[in-house]
């Protein structure tokens, strides 16, 4: 007689946005794993049509409150590529500085408040702070400097107002940026110490081979541009993305799922992929930390994504200090342009992975078409595939344990569910 067991996690916790997980177990085998994103659709791609290209970065920021800069950067770069707008090198460096702010704020939130509690059996970062007050307070202080950087350069931390097509609305003075240096230098030392603490966590063993994808550049860590590099396939240019990757709708989710067009194979984006493909381009302190405190690269244990994320915080702090020390304001805050009928795309690295935008523009400078592919809809299939491999070891345990272990694995991807809905609740179904 066959038996079915169904386990549901109705609302995943300590993730950004709302989703569920449904697990069906038949005869002690995992029959299906469905990551269901029930975040309501908000139709950005539809209402962007007919809007002036100048409005796009303000609108796309609202896709995600945690990584608005990633959406702003991807959209302005896609529009600038479309209209062949050349960007001043100093503006380019300032944009990297803005990305540093977002990576610090988003990564540190995930490391200390969302992910680290799982390694100590705590329900929240606040509970973890009772056991490790110094470490969590240090984390909050680093997070604050990330937000402060966004405030000075972007106007505010959530939905910054300063990004525009062609550059920025307003350039910061050298002095305004220099006031951030003491806190950034303190944070760099603190982040290095935090990474040593995190690298010593007790990690569940879950090392699984899969295709890792991230942007790649010759001489810098990937933020706002690069080729699309893979651990399995040759690199492609960003304008070939849609030929190689497609999105599909599944009945149980409001987020579309991405896969490779030819093989329907899932792939993994984010800090593990970026560090694996770009370790050479990391900052000196980050490289030293890898040599002295971290497991050997490449890191592929999903639970060690928290180490990769910590390394990226160190990198972002060091790069931010470098950009500010060498900053001299350019003559113009932005490059002027004349809109014409055109189309273009761009990919950037959001904290949780590569993000792709494509826009068509009409002769009046209005958006004619928009296609936005967030990182979590690309990771979704890999998360389901990983859960099918990870969960069998827990099948003799209670539904609560299975659900809790599944959630811990899901958190390691830092899924950003609000933005993937065009994405989580958890059911386990045992037959």
């Amino acid at each position: 007689m066959s038996s079915t067991r169904k386990i549901t996690v109705n609302a995943l916790t300590r993730v950004e946005g709302e989703g569920a997980l449904h697990i069906r177990i038949r005869d002690e085998l995992i029959e299906s794993v469905r990551l269901a994103i029930y975040e309501p659709p908000r139709f950005f791609e539809s209402f962007l049509r007919g809007r002036a290209i100048e409005e796009v970065p303000d609108l796309t920021a609202r896709i995600c409150g945690i990584c608005p800069v990633a959406y702003q950067m991807t959209s302005v770069h896609a529009i600038e590529n479309s209209l062949a707008i050349a960007i001043d090198p100093e503006i380019r460096r300032l944009r990297r500085l803005l990305v540093c702010g977002e990576w610090i704020e988003s990564h540190v939130l995930h490391i200390f408040l969302l992910n680290a509690p799982d390694f100590f059996g705590c329900h929240s970062g606040i509970e973890l702070a009772e056991r490790f007050p110094d470490q969590i307070n240090t984390g909050l202080r680093i997070k604050k400097i990330g937000n402060r950087l966004l405030e000075v350069l972007g106007g505010r931390a959530v939905h910054p107002v300063n990004v525009r097509v062609g550059g920025f609305h307003h350039l910061p003075s050298k002095d305004e940026l220099k006031t951030l240096l003491p806190d950034l230098r303190w944070s760099l030392e603190a982040a290095i110490e935090s990474t040593r603490w995190i690298a010593g966590f007790d990690f569940p063993d879950f090392d699984l081979d899969c295709e890792l994808i991230s942007l790649q550049n010759n001489d810098e860590y990937p933020f706002n541009e690069g080729v699309i590099a893979s651990t399995c396939c040759p690199s492609i240019n960003v304008n070939e993305y849609e030929q190689h990757f497609g999105e599909n709708q599944v009945e149980y989710s409001t987020a579309l799922q991405s896969s490779r067009r030819d093989s329907s194979a899932p792939y993994l984006l984010g800090p593990l992929a970026r560090v694996a493909l770009n370790s050479r381009q990391l900052s000196p302190s980050t490289k030293h930390l890898i040599e002295t405190a971290c497991p050997p690269l490449p890191l592929t244990n999903r639970f060690q994504a928290i180490i990769a994320r910590s390394l990226e915080v160190v990198h972002a702090l060091e790069e931010a200090i470098d950009v500010i020390e060498n900053y001299s304001p350019p003559y113009h805050a932005f490059t002027n342009y004349r809109p014409h009928e055109s189309a273009g795309c761009a990919a950037t690295e959001a904290p949780r992975g590569m993000i792709y935008h494509h826009y068509g523009i009409d002769s009046r400078g209005m958006v004619a078409s928009a296609n936005i592919v967030p990182p979590t809809s690309q990771n979704q299939l890999q998360i389901e595939s990983d859960l099918r491999e990870f969960l069998p070891q827990w099948l003799n345990d209670s539904d609560e344990t299975i659900a809790s272990e599944a959630e811990k694995l899901i958190r390691t991807y830092d899924p950003c569910i609000s933005c993937s809905t065009h994405f989580l609740k958890l059911t386990i179904d045992r037959s």
Binding site: A11, V15, N137, H159, V161
Partner: protein
């Protein structure tokens, strides 16, 4: 037993940015957690408790039939319900669908629209259940959030200003973009709370905090339209993140009916 107030944080259609503001109170978060019981906050804690709640912070707009049912349950289990952010107080940026063809919007994104639960409008929490306090902003300002939570903990009245962004530009010493550069700034009709950021960054206000108290929108529109501002530019300025905020909606609809070419 403790007598701490029980806090619930709930999310509807939104970007998560407003509840993130609570986690962005880096200096106050741990102290706050000592003075209030965080009973339900999915993004921050996997210890999820049932109501009743003394304070419910509700982020996001209502745009699915399931969510409309859910807000009634939250209301019935909450003593004080505070709607936080432009989505919860006016429908948010996703209310731009209210002027679009919803079926076409769904079909443009989803190959199988029948699986998608989505309403043709995105509406504020107060359109469905009584709301005790509305905290504006896209995103909300964390100082205002702390003020509201502090007031609710202390059982005192909340104090958030209702004057326009203009006043804060003057306080900040920012040169007026509407007067000196004829830019269609929404500062004169937008409620303060952000700190008048945009004009200080050389760009016009785009209305994140919704309409200020007792504003005269048509007078401002006609002033801008008499200059270099086109109807389309002004319509789009009003139809942004606070598009369905009552006063902005009335004004954008007025401009549209007076100038039908503005949506072309």
């Amino acid at each position: 037993m403790n007598n701490k107030k029980r806090l619930g944080v709930f999310k509807f259609a939104s970007c998560d940015g407003c509840q993130l503001q609570l986690l962005s109170c880096e200096d106050e978060l741990l102290e706050l957690a000592e003075t209030i019981e965080i009973a339900h906050f999915l993004e921050a804690s996997s210890f999820v408790q049932e109501g009743p709640f003394d304070i419910a912070l509700v982020e996001g707009s209502l745009s699915t039939s399931v969510d409309v049912d859910r807000i009634h349950k939250i209301r019935s289990s909450s003593k004080t319900l505070v709607a936080i952010g432009a989505c919860a107080t006016s429908g948010g940026v996703q209310a731009l669908r209210n002027w679009g063809d919803h079926d076409e919007f769904v079909a443009a994104v989803y190959a199988s629209p029948q699986y998608v639960d989505s309403l043709s409008t995105s509406t504020a929490i107060a359109d469905h259940v009584p709301v005790d306090f509305e905290l504006r902003g896209c995103p909300i300002d964390k100082r205002q959030l702390l003020e509201v939570i502090g007031a609710l903990i202390a059982d005192r009245k909340t104090r958030t200003p209702r004057h326009s962004v203009c006043i804060d530009c003057k306080r900040r010493g920012t040169v007026c973009l509407a007067v000196t550069r004829q830019q269609p700034c929404l500062g004169p009709i937008t409620q303060t709370g952000c700190g008048a950021i945009c004009p200080a960054y050389d760009r016009p206000c785009y209305g994140c905090f919704g309409p200020a108290a007792q504003v005269n929108c048509p007078a401002l529109s006609e002033h801008y339209l008499a200059g270099d501002t086109t109807e389309t530019t002004l319509l789009h300025a009003l139809r942004n993140v606070s598009a369905a905020a009552n006063v902005f909606q009335i004004e954008s609809d007025r401009i549209e009916s007076a100038h039908p070419e503005s949506t072309q």
